[in-house]
Amino acid sequence: VRSNGKLVVTLVNVPQVWQIDPTTHSAELVHEFESADGVLGIAEYDSDVFAVVSAVCSWDTMIEY
C-alpha cells in the first residue's frame, strides 16, 4: 500500500506489477518484466520505493489435478 492510498500488486504467473486505486476500482500497469514469468514479494524500503522479486518460473507445464 502506497502512502497515497493506492495498492501495488504483483502477478505470480505473469511478469507484471499493477497499481490499483481502491476508490475507483481501476488498475493500471506499472511495469512488465522481460525474461521473467512472475513477480512476487513486495516491500516498501524507502519513501514510495518498493522492492519486488522476479523469476523464471514455468507455471504452465505442471498438471497435478
Binding site: V1, R2, S3, N4, G5, L7, V8, V9, L11, V12, N13, V14, V17, W18, Q19, I20, P22, T23, H25, S26, A27, E28, V30, H31, F33, A36, D37, G38, L40, G41, I42, A43, E44, Y45, D46, S47, D48, V49, F50, A51, V52, V53, S54, A55, V56, C57, S58, W59, D60, T61, M62, I63, E64, Y65
Partner: protein, 257 residues
C-alpha cells in the same frame, strides 16, 4: 464474518490445472520500483535491478527493516532460508538458516518459509506446510543481523485446512500488533500473539470468494484505516473449487473483528 467487497479482478492466464509453479533456481532477482516522480519520465515508476541472488531456489516474502536503511529480508521457501539484502551495496548474505524455515518434504509443494515481516526489532515468519505456523527472531536494529534464538509463537494451525494447500502465505500487522494471515487454505485468520489465539475471520478451504488467498495489507489513509486488503491467486494454487478465475483484490472492514 465482516463485509467484503470485490475491488477488482485481474485477468491471469488460465493455463490449465496446476497447483504450483516450477521456478528455475538461479533465476531470482530483486528489483526496485521507485514511484517518486523523476524529470523526463512519464512512467508510473522507474524500475532498476537491485541484485541477482544466484543461489536462491525460490524467493517469496519480502520485508524492509525500517531501523536499518536500505536493508531487506527475503524468504527463500525452497531452501528454507532468509536472506539479508543490502539495497545500496547491492549485496546479500544469509540472515537466518533454521529448521523452522524448512520445507515439508512430504507436502504437495516443497515450500517452507513464506511471509516475512518486521515488527519492533523482530522478524516474524510463517511456514507454508509444516510446524511452526508462526515464529519470530530478534535482530540488532541497526545492523539487521540476528540477535537471538528463534521463538515459536504458534506451533500448528487451529483453523480449517486444505492439506494440499497448506496453512500460511503472507500476513500483515494491525496497529495493535495482531497478525492478519492469508492462509494457504483460502481464508483470513487473526493471530493474537499475546493471547495465543487464532480466529478465523473469513473464508475456508472451499470458499469461492477467497479462493487462493495470498497476502493482506492494511489501508494507510484516513478513509481506509482499518480496511484490510486481501489478494488472491484466483484458484491458481487450488483449481478444484472454482477453476482458475483470475486473481482478486478484496477489502475487508476489520472494525469489531
Amino acid at each position: 464474518v465482516g463485509y467484503h467487497d470485490r475491488i477488482l479482478t485481474l485477468q491471469t492466464q488460465n493455463a490449465g490445472n496446476f497447483s504450483a509453479g516450477h521456478p528455475t533456481p538461479g533465476s531470482w532477482s530483486t528489483w526496485s520500483l521507485d514511484f517518486n516522480p523523476t524529470r523526463g519520465h512519464s512512467s508510473l515508476a522507474s524500475v532498476k535491478k537491485i541484485v541477482h541472488i544466484p543461489s536462491a531456489e525460490f524467493l517469496n516474502g519480502l520485508t524492509a527493516v525500517p531501523t536499518a536503511s536500505g536493508i531487506l529480508l527475503a524468504a527463500d521457501p525452497g531452501k528454507g532460508l532468509v536472506y539479508r539484502i543490502n539495497t545500496s551495496k547491492k549485496s546479500w548474505s544469509v540472515f537466518l538458516d533454521d529448521p523452522t524455515l524448512k520445507p515439508n518434504l512430504t507436502a504437495s509443494v516443497k515450500i517452507g518459509v513464506n511471509g516475512v515481516h518486521v515488527y519492533r526489532d523482530q522478524l516474524y515468519f510463517d511456514n507454508t506446510f509444516q510446524s511452526p505456523l508462526l515464529a519470530r527472531v530478534p535482530f540488532h536494529p541497526e545492523s539487521a543481523k540476528k540477535a537471538g534464538p528463534v521463538e515459536v509463537l504458534f506451533k500448528a494451525a487451529s483453523f480449517p485446512l486444505n492439506e494440499d494447500n497448506g496453512q500460511a502465505d503472507d500476513f500483515s500487522f494491525d496497529s495493535e500488533g495482531n497478525i492478519w494471515l492469508a492462509s494457504r487454505s483460502s481464508s483470513v485468520v487473526k493471530l493474537d500473539i499475546r493471547k495465543k489465539t487464532q480466529k478465523l475471520i473469513a473464508g475456508g478451504p472451499d470458499d469461492p470468494t477467497l479462493i487462493g488467498t495470498t497476502a493482506t495489507a492494511f489501508g494507510r489513509t484516513k478513509k481506509d484505516k482499518g480496511v484490510l486488503y486481501i489478494t488472491t491467486n484466483g484458484g491458481l494454487s487450488d483449481p478444484s473449487v472454482v477453476g482458475v478465475i483470475g486473481g482478486k483484490v478484496l477489502a475487508l472492514n476489520t472494525k469489531g473483528l
